[in-house]
């Protein structure tokens, strides 16, 4: 935010939530104290609408989103949470554009739970799927236009002038002929009490008149994040709060039995109490460090669940190992359920000049967001519950928490502080969110409790990006051109792992990136064989694409080699007639100084090679080229990544570029070093020492070109990731002459 309120978000909640929720600006009825005087960041403002009033379409109830203060600053409650992707700034640009208020004058916070905020395709609310901007762009522009219209109406009355003669300039309504000019802040009280006009009655700006959309405006949250003032869930505190640390069962599903040293731990200085929870034992103390020492010291007899209990949860068996499971996936037979078919695979293979086949696989990876999970819960005297937690879907959490706490929906006030990274970590995942613990402990102690998961407890419960083994086969014609491809993935998708497997359906999240490829290979068949995982699975930045484009684009290079084709030229050929992707692929070629595959000797004497790959994730298009060498230890050095990204149309080119660098870096981290290893049902790594993430000295230079084709707007948070691991692996294959078919590269012996 451009100006930091000295009182951190959560401290204010020490006030009575009752009073705060009655703050005017979210009331549509007149006569309540003026909204213009409202202060307080992060207060649980209730969605406007007098009780019993008909629900308005999500994204149209202006007072539920906007407050304009006497100093002309605009407070905006965002339906999307900020976790580094720049959405608070993007929203300010979009709403500010139509409202005609400088985005820099915006103070943006995450909105509470409520119907008004279900703006993703007008029916749901998640910060994910790279959906935020593209799914709500028109709705949010309309919201700004509606608010502007209300200000014009209020000004018309005040100025005694016909509304048609009024115009605006940033933050002001103007009546040219009489020279009158009134600041929005002076009109807000009248304006926001007016009924919201019919959304159909407002017209949106012609994009050629945009003042802020499409400009690289600076992010609103950068100053407070550069000075330690930003408040995350981890930082929230309320009066009288206790701290809690937990020891999780080493395997999901185990239940706490006897705590052998219970009395000892209870007697530790500063310990308040010890509690058995679902799959964990918690120690509550006045300070976190004491709680943490207590939790670490607990000697718990963990007990196996009954068969019936096992069936209800994702029970982790004591003999599970990722090594054996990888082998199982690699050896899984069967044609699977079809996700995409085209042409006639059988005759294409029958008449092929040459065929190629190979099995590739991916690995489990952690979200490893730098802020471990935490939750603060407080039951209020009136029976309501305030809860502060990192989340990407407030209404979904509200429903689940209400159930857990035995409350009505409207008794649960969800507070969603900004996220210290998310990458898919903060959806509802069974066993992976601390809120049940915070609720139980707050209930048990009668005081507010904040649960913090240490990194070790976080990694023990972090649900994983699925792994897959994909059997590929390809057919080439006499000229070496690919004419058929089949990919059968043995995998469990994140959606089916959470919502239940439907034997008649493919989980599209499991196969995306194998499906939806743009290459003109006339005969193709993409299928999934469902193999249930004992591990808990999750969405991870770019979801199925995060592994599948690596798998597919590697095999495409194998087909290129088999047909004696250059991989870049082959891709261009397969994209003939596809102007958008041809432009994109050429753009990344140019960005890299012209395609050259190598191996070649760099000016510093090192042997290097380049690889290329493409991906079509989340409505956007990406193409990447990477240059690699091997160091003396035989480890891969990624020198440069060039990436061209086409999200169709854009809001903030500066944010897009930085998001592309961010996503590309995560792709580098994944392909070089990340892998969750389980042995005997437990993860080997419990912290960054044994689960390293990309450190600065292994980060490549990343060069980004944003290509704006004008196509329908796509996503940006995730799409730049999937092409990068594939481009790097293809470069390494060229350099070493050995085909890379799995990640991470650090675990392969590559030295030639």
């Amino acid at each position: 935010m451009n100006d930091h309120d000295p009182t951190p978000a959560c401290d204010l909640a020490g006030d009575s939530p009752q009073n705060l929720s009655r703050r005017r600006f979210l009331q549509t009825s007149a006569g309540v104290a003026t909204g213009a005087l409202v202060i307080g960041m992060g207060i649980p403002l209730q969605p406007a609408r007098a009780a019993g009033a008909a629900q308005m379409a999500p994204g149209t109830n202006v007072p539920a989103f906007l407050e304009i203060r006497p100093d002309n600053r605009v407070r905006f409650l965002s339906p999307f949470n900020e976790g580094g992707q720049g959405i608070f700034t993007g929203m300010a640009q979009i709403v500010g554009e139509e409202l005609d208020a400088d985005p820099e004058s915006f103070i943006v916070e995450n909105a509470p739970a409520g119907h008004d905020y279900l703006v993703v395709f007008g029916k749901m609310r998640i910060t994910g799927g790279s959906f935020s901007t593209r799914s709500s762009y028109t709705t949010m522009r309309k919201l700004g236009a509606l608010a502007r219209n209300m200000l014009l109406q209020a000004a018309a009355t005040r100025m005694n002038a016909p509304i048609g003669e009024l115009t605006t300039e940033p933050g002001h309504v103007i009546h040219k002929s009489t020279g009158q000019k009134i600041a929005y802040g002076d009109l807000a009280k009248d304006a926001l009490d007016l009924p919201v006009p019919d959304p159909k009655s407002v017209t949106l700006k012609d994009p050629k008149d945009f003042r802020w959309i499409r400009q690289p405006l600076k992010r609103l949250d950068v100053p407070e994040k550069s000075t330690g003032k930003a408040i995350y869930a981890m930082d929230c505190k309320v009066e009288g709060m206790l701290h809690a640390a937990v020891q999780h069962a080493p395997r999901l599903g185990l239940k706490p039995g006897v705590v052998r040293n219970l009395d000892e731990v209870k007697a530790m200085k500063g310990v308040h109490s010890v509690h058995k929870l679902d799959g964990a034992v918690a120690v509550v103390a006045e300070r976190f460090w004491v709680a943490k020492l207590g939790a670490d010291a607990l000697q718990v007899d963990w007990q196996e669940p009954s068969a019936a209990e096992k069936a209800k949860i994702r029970y982790m068996p004591a003999d599970f190992s990722t090594e054996a499971f990888t082998r199982q996936l690699m050896e899984t037979k069967g044609d699977g359920k079809e996700a995409e078919t085209h042409g006639d695979l059988k005759s294409a293979f029958a008449s092929a000049g040459k065929t190629v086949s190979a099995t590739y696989h991916s690995q489990y990876v952690h979200h490893a967001q730098l802020e471990p999970a935490s939750t603060l819960a407080r039951f209020n005297a009136d029976g309501t519950l305030d809860i502060w937690l990192p989340n990407q879907a407030p209404e979904q959490f509200q429903a689940q928490i209400a159930k857990t706490a035995g409350l009505k929906l409207e008794q649960v006030n969800i507070h969603s502080p900004i996220l210290g990274g998310f990458f898919g970590r903060h959806f509802l995942y069974p066993g992976a969110n601390p809120y049940p613990q915070a609720v139980a402990l707050s209930k048990a102690t009668g005081r507010p409790v904040k649960v913090i998961w240490t990194r070790e407890q976080e990694f023990l419960r972090d649900p994983l990006r699925p792994m897959a083994a994909v059997r590929f086969r390809g057919a080439l014609d006499a000229s070496g051109m690919p004419v058929a491809i089949e990919a059968i993935s043995a995998c469990e998708g994140p959606a089916e792992s959470l919502n239940g497997h439907n034997p008649n359906k493919v989980d599209s999240n499991a196969v995306e990136g194998l499906t939806g490829k743009a290459y003109a290979i006339p005969n193709r068949r993409i299928a999934q064989v469902y193999v249930k995982n004992p591990t808990s699975l999750a969405y991870w930045r770019s979801v199925g694409h995060s592994m599948n484009d690596f798998l597919y684009e590697g095999f495409l290079d194998e087909m290129a080699d088999a047909g004696g084709k250059d991989p870049y030229a082959l891709r261009l050929k397969l994209l003939e007639g596809n102007d958008r992707l041809t432009t994109l692929l050429k753009a990344v070629g140019e960005l890299s100084g012209g395609w050259k595959r190598g191996p070649f000797t760099a000016p510093d004497g090192s042997r290097r090679a380049r690889g290329v790959a493409m991906a079509s994730p989340f409505g956007s298009e990406a193409a990447a080229i990477a240059e690699v060498s091997l160091n003396a230890a035989g480890k891969v050095v990624v020198h440069d990544v060039w990436e061209a990204i086409d999200p169709g149309s854009i809001v903030n080119p500066g944010i897009i570029k930085l998001q592309a660098m961010s996503a590309a870096t995560l792709g580098v981290s994944q392909v070089l070093m990340e892998q969750v290893v389980y042995k005997n049902g437990e993860p080997e790594a419990r912290n960054y020492d044994l689960y390293p993430i990309l450190p600065p000295d292994r980060a490549p230079r990343i060069h980004v070109k944003v290509v704006e084709s004008g196509a329908q707007m796509g996503g940006i948070g995730e799409p730049p990731l999937p092409a990068v691991p594939a481009a790097i692996a293809n470069a390494v294959s060229t350099l070493t002459g050995k085909r890379v078919r799995s990640m991470p590269l650090d675990k392969l012996s590559l030295a030639t």
């Binding site: 720049g86 330690g228 995350y232 960054y688």
Partner: protein
């Protein structure tokens, strides 16, 4: 026990074994210093002790003695820190921001000791992890601060 934090003497009663991080966050209520790993792996908890960077999650309170503790809360009171913050904003460094208190502290500690670090010296000092991949922009900001002709604002 007495502690000197951001130029002020404060009285603290945490156990002497308590890591400085938790004294700062829980007892002193300053939450700018972050907890990421607790194992000296990530650097999110970086603070300065007498101007030198330390990872406060593995620095016991008892080891601090009368050294001056500087946390991110006081960063703009330091002219070098102020310049670092300015460049962090100019280069739009933070994404989620969670690692950035530590990054800004590390940058400030380096520049206080060595106003004109070389590229290698920058690389040796800026070792904190960032899961959001801000390494390129951190480097741009550092080269700019070191007067090494960074492509200022190139990333935007």
């Amino acid at each position: 026990m007495q502690l000197y934090v951001n130029g002020q003497m404060v009285e603290v009663n945490s156990d002497p074994d308590t890591p400085l991080l938790w004294v700062i966050r829980d007892e002193l209520g300053m939450t700018g210093t972050k907890f990421g790993c607790g194992l000296a792996q990530c650097g999110a908890c970086s603070v300065m002790l007498d101007g030198k960077i330390v990872r406060s999650c593995v620095t016991p309170l008892s080891s601090v003695g009368d050294a001056q503790v500087t946390t991110i809360e006081a960063i703009e009171a330091d002219p070098v820190g102020q310049r670092v913050v300015e460049k962090w904003i100019a280069h739009q460094v933070p994404q989620c921001g969670y690692c950035q208190s530590g990054q800004v502290m590390a940058a400030t500690a380096l520049l206080k000791e060595n106003a004109k670090p070389s590229r290698d010296e920058i690389a040796a000092a800026m070792v904190n992890l960032c899961r959001c991949g801000t390494y390129n922009v951190i480097n741009d900001a550092m080269l700019d601060l070191a007067g090494l002709g960074a492509n200022k604002g190139e990333t935007l």
